[in-house]
Symmetry: C2
């Protein structure tokens, strides 16, 4: 790389992995190919994975190893060759690839003369609508999240208040880390894994991506945001509560009540046929009416600084978005409703539930009480 | 998509995310851009992330929000626009992108006339050599892995042997799931997360990607493969042990001893200047000499069916590979040495340690005893 050349990197996970999981039922730690055709799916896996792929994949999926495709030695894992042979098998002339397809492979296919185009729309829009089996899986993960939430709130509620408002459990500081450990252990008891769980008190809670660290204090809002993934099914749960050990200031209570009111208004609006953006708009109105402004202060945004929610499934963030998506809710959508307000100096509040959209409204995946002050 | 069109998906994570973490010190849950130039790095993050990015990023990194780039409204997150402006700021004419760059963005840049090329070599080959600070982080994760391994082995060792060889703890079946739960909880106590941990007994252990499920039995080999990621640093640890509760058959002991011997031979060969492939070859020779063949049986491979090891760092699998890489080991490489043998009907054995390559040999990141039979 010389002085005139820059190397561009884009951070982010590969949505294709969960799309393949959804379409084929199969997932593996290594990179592998899947081809979706009008007649069904074709999967290329290693010899080691073949048995498991046959067991796990959805009916109608054809499973090949490189050897099955006639590829040996160095050519075995040449994806251009694999795709060429899959196209022959499925008698295809053209291929589509998603926007997150690897550019290196895309370029190699183009150079070899493949008729290839990029699909800019969602690859599996059908993932937005969950069937009964998926809702049962999501409910299990949400139940794990609720159990972990209850354990965390009960720990914070049982903390002693010491000098300078420090919270104590058995004479040791109660920290974000200790609460997070309890949450993660509770999730493990429910066959789920929690990563990047948020336990953020005071000003830490005003940065939605701050996980939280160090001692917790009485009289401050503590945001708990728990999003476990089932180790068995791959489906996620998502819940947030905000609590305050000991009495909260009048101002902080006003903040909490505004978020609680906004969430209630948003939930009441959830039903099939409603535009998701409208729900976001309702939250904004509640905050404006109560005098909680969203604005830039010293280059950072305060107030209601994120969307109202998102779909949950095999990805923790998936469609439909509840914000600026322009999408209409459908029965079987599983979405979070999670308004929040963030003001450095005062604190952050977020209240989040995950619900199933129905014809007439919504159902909680798993209910969990909402209580701010733990006195 | 019509009858003549197939949609190709590739599973796999985005190595770019850990490369950006390595180069800039910064990581975030959302997608974001990083540009590496001869003069340093340029990062584009949301307003919400700016404060954290300034705190966490390596000296010399320039941090921009879309607003800082003069991008507003719908254009704010247009990555083509972001790249165009970054190139102006850094006075660049050409860009390189890694093979895992998103094809959608690659194609859009090409169409807009950007001078763009794909870098097929590793983006951060310097990641292979760890400095002292990195080795300290890796050691912490490895210590967590060893602590979890000891807790798991002690649990299996304390199990009662019941009817049909079933293992029991307090009158309940000891299952892979229960051992995994204990491992994950121990990792949490060490600020690490474990996902997909392997506790696979008997024939389950002969499929290296089977995590293991259901009751464990006396007299069978149980593979324990623990690879925690530090929640604080992002660095991984990696260790495997194989144990057998109660006496093992002579055949199973022979299998274990072959793997133990291969690992010892491989470890003795580790030092700077050695070709990694040679180490893999030494393991193969030990197995061949002891009569353990690697071959295809009914379409599946048995014997020594994977490489001898891999680098460990911000990714659990990174360079250098210890197998068919052709790479020469350097001081500061952190690699696993993990030969294994797998024969359905008999069982699987894998023994793995993670070591730092030195001029004269290697150092364990954290030592852990090797004992097969738990009598």
């Amino acid at each position: 790389m010389n002085q005139l050349t820059g190397m561009i990197l884009v951070a982010g996970s590969s949505p294709s992995t969960t799309n393949i999981h959804y379409l084929s039922g199969f997932t593996a730690p290594d990179s592998f190919l899947y081809m979706k055709t009008a007649q069904g799916g074709l999967l290329v896996v290693s010899a080691m994975e073949k048995g498991r792929a046959i067991k796990q994949s959805t009916p109608g999926t054809q499973i090949f190893t490189p050897a099955d495709l006639g590829l040996k030695g160095k050519k075995a894992w040449n994806k251009v060759e694999q795709i060429r042979i899959l196209m022959e098998i499925a008698q295809l002339r053209r291929i589509l690839v998603p926007v997150d397809f690897p550019a290196g492979l895309f370029h190699a296919l183009e150079k070899k003369g493949f008729k290839i185009a990029i699909e800019r729309k969602a690859i599996c829009p059908e993932r937005k609508v969950k069937d009964k089996a998926e809702i049962a899986k999501l409910r299990k993960s949400q139940q794990a999240a609720v159990a972990a939430m209850k354990s965390a709130i009960s720990l914070i509620g049982s903390a002693k208040i010491g000098k300078n408002g420090h919270l104590f459990i058995e004479k040791e500081f109660l920290t974000s880390e200790k609460v997070r450990q309890l949450i993660h252990k509770t999730l493990i008891d429910h066959d789920c894994a929690g990563i990047e769980t948020i336990v953020a008190g005071g000003d830490q809670g005003t940065d939605p991506h701050e996980r939280g660290h160090g001692p917790l204090f009485a009289g401050q809002s503590v945001i708990l945001d728990i999003f476990p993934r089932s180790e068995k099914t791959g489906y996620w749960g998502d819940i947030s509560r905000t609590v305050c050990r000991g009495p909260a200031s009048a101002e902080l209570k006003k903040l909490y009540n505004a978020v609680k009111a906004a969430q209630a208004v948003a939930l009441r609006a959830v039903k099939a046929g409603v535009c998701a953006d409208e729900i976001h708009g309702l939250c904004k109105t509640v905050f404006e009416q109560r005098g909680f402004e969203t604005k830039e202060v010293d280059g950072a945004y305060v107030g209601f600084i994120h969307g109202t929610g998102h779909g949950v499934g095999l990805d923790i963030h998936e469609l439909p978005r509840v914000g600026a998506s322009g999408e209409t809710l459908e029965p079987g959508n599983v979405i979070t409703i999670e308004p929040g307000l963030y003001y450095p100096g005062l604190g952050g509040v977020r209240i989040e539930d995950t619900v199933v959209v129905t014809e007439s409204g919504y159902r909680y995946l798993s209910a969990c009480p909402k209580k701010f002050e733990l006195l």
